[in-house]
């Protein structure tokens, strides 16, 4: 038997591509959660509301310092005991989203901290309402300059989706495993799965790098 069987490789490609769609769906939905929730975290922490601030800090530290896999298991096994049963797909989206929200919140924070003090003072001088200060002055300046860093995290999320095979989500690697178990040939499925990741994430990271360079020179 040859080490690499092209016929087999082409046979399984459609199934793997179909599973890749699931991977991308989870990545995109998870990114929406991460990008929005991270912004909420960053703004809330900036407001320094007593108690809430400490709670948020502790939450972010715990989520950042513990494995995503354990958090996914937590959502999958603990929540049903409190009457919340989520499908594996939703657990994946929420788990990835919340985990990465703690990263993006740091990114947003760095962006907000980089806004010159004069901008805040000008807002006060113009007596802009609180909401306008954020939506009209601070965030429009802070968010664009952290876009490359946020892009990097979206790419990282994409690469972490295969973790969800531990709770039975059929994404690319899980599909590869199932295909392999039918024929006992694992070389083609896993190699193709790896190449699919590289094929998508490498161009994406080049794009982010270009964005980064443009920011630096601009």
């Amino acid at each position: 038997m040859p080490v690499w069987d092209w016929n087999y490789a082409f046979d399984i490609l459609p199934d793997l591509l179909l599973a890749l769609v699931t991977t991308i769906e989870i990545t995109l939905l998870g990114s929406v959660v991460a990008l929005l929730l991270g912004l909420v975290f960053a703004v809330l922490r900036r407001l320094r509301i007593p108690v809430l601030d400490q709670v948020l800090w502790a939450f972010v530290e715990v989520v950042r310092s513990t494995p995503l896999l354990v958090q996914v298991f937590f959502l999958f096994f603990v929540l049903p005991q409190f009457g919340v049963t989520l499908s594996a797909f939703v657990v994946g989206v929420v788990g990835l989203g919340v985990h990465y929200a703690t990263y993006t919140s740091e990114v947003y924070r760095a962006g907000i901290d980089a806004i010159p003090k004069g901008q805040w003072e000008a807002c006060t001088a113009l007596s802009l309402p609180r909401l306008r200060v954020w939506t009209g002055v601070i965030l429009p300046q802070a968010v664009p300059r952290v876009l490359p860093a946020l892009g990097n995290y979206v790419i990282s999320m994409f690469k972490e989706v295969p973790l969800l095979l531990a709770i039975g989500v059929v994404e690319v690697v899980n599909e590869a495993r199932e295909l392999g178990s039918l024929t006992f040939r694992y070389t083609e499925p896993y190699t193709i799965a790896g190449l699919l990741f590289l094929l998508l994430s490498y161009p994406a990271s080049m794009l982010v790098r270009r964005l980064e360079r443009r920011r630096v020179t601009a």
């Binding site: 295969p162 070389t187 590289l198 980064e212």
Partner: protein, 242 residues
């Protein structure tokens, strides 16, 4: 709550595996990061190109795929299978080494040009220049991002559960969940605490190193570097707010 001692006991049994995997991974990461990081700065195009393939290959694919590839596919190709823990250490090291290479490269390049010129003016050999002038300064810059990277590695070690390494996460999932199904909150609560403590230990050691390394240069550790590393994370090696 009455099952707490047993739960803690079973999870503790996994701690040595998690610690060995993490330490092994960290050691391999350091070696690969320094080697690949310096090779990325080599004047030879070929050397840089080959190193780039390693770095981008491991940064561009999923760690789970890498793990499965080395554990399930490699045996078919070479004829022998690695022990699960060993395969895990290899993957953790190869993967994080690729990220670390960028950290090393960035830190070496961040040393001011005048330092090179000064070393040349003092007619230090290239090796002396690296060892006595450039690396000690680059080392301090590397520590905060490496702190992040090592915590990332500790967290990644949980995926070794997928190839039957009996580390903390696998103990929780495979031993405790089937037997103490009513205590899931407790099980994962304790698991979180274990990882938090291990992560805190890593940070403690790295801060200590940072203090020592800075003192040797006659500097104080900078808060700004740590904040930037935190926001940039292990994936983004460039600063966020440029």
């Amino acid at each position: 709550m009455e099952n707490l001692p047993q739960i803690v006991g079973v999870l503790s049994d996994g701690i040595p595996e998690t610690v060995i995997a993490t330490l092994g991974g960290v050691l391999l990461t350091i070696v690969l990061s320094v080697a690949a990081g310096l090779l990325l700065l080599s004047p030879s195009r070929t050397v840089r190109g080959v190193t780039r393939v390693y770095v981008e290959g491991f940064r561009g694919t999923s760690e789970v795929v890498q793990l499965f590839w080395i554990y399930f596919v490699l045996p078919v190709l070479v004829g022998f299978q690695l022990l699960p823990l060993f395969a895990g250490i290899v993957v953790l090291g190869l993967n994080h080494g690729a990220y670390g290479a960028e950290i090393v490269r960035g830190a070496v390049r961040s040393v001011p040009r005048a330092q090179y010129e000064g070393a040349i003016a003092l007619s230090l050999s290239p090796a002396q220049r690296m060892r006595r002038v450039i690396l000690p300064q680059a080392f301090v810059e590397m520590l905060p991002p490496f702190n992040n990277l090592f915590i990332q590695l500790l967290k990644s070690s949980a995926i070794l559960a997928l190839i039957t390494v009996p580390e903390v996460t696998r103990q929780a999932r495979e031993v405790l969940i089937p037997n103490f199904g009513a205590d899931t909150l407790l099980i994962f609560g304790v698991t979180f605490v274990i990882y938090l403590v291990l992560a805190a230990l890593i940070t403690l050691v790295m801060r200590l190193l940072e203090r020592v390394a800075s003192a040797r240069l006659g500097r104080r550790p900078s808060r700004a570097a740590r904040a930037a590393a935190r926001a940039a994370g292990p994936t983004g090696t460039e600063g966020v707010a440029a």
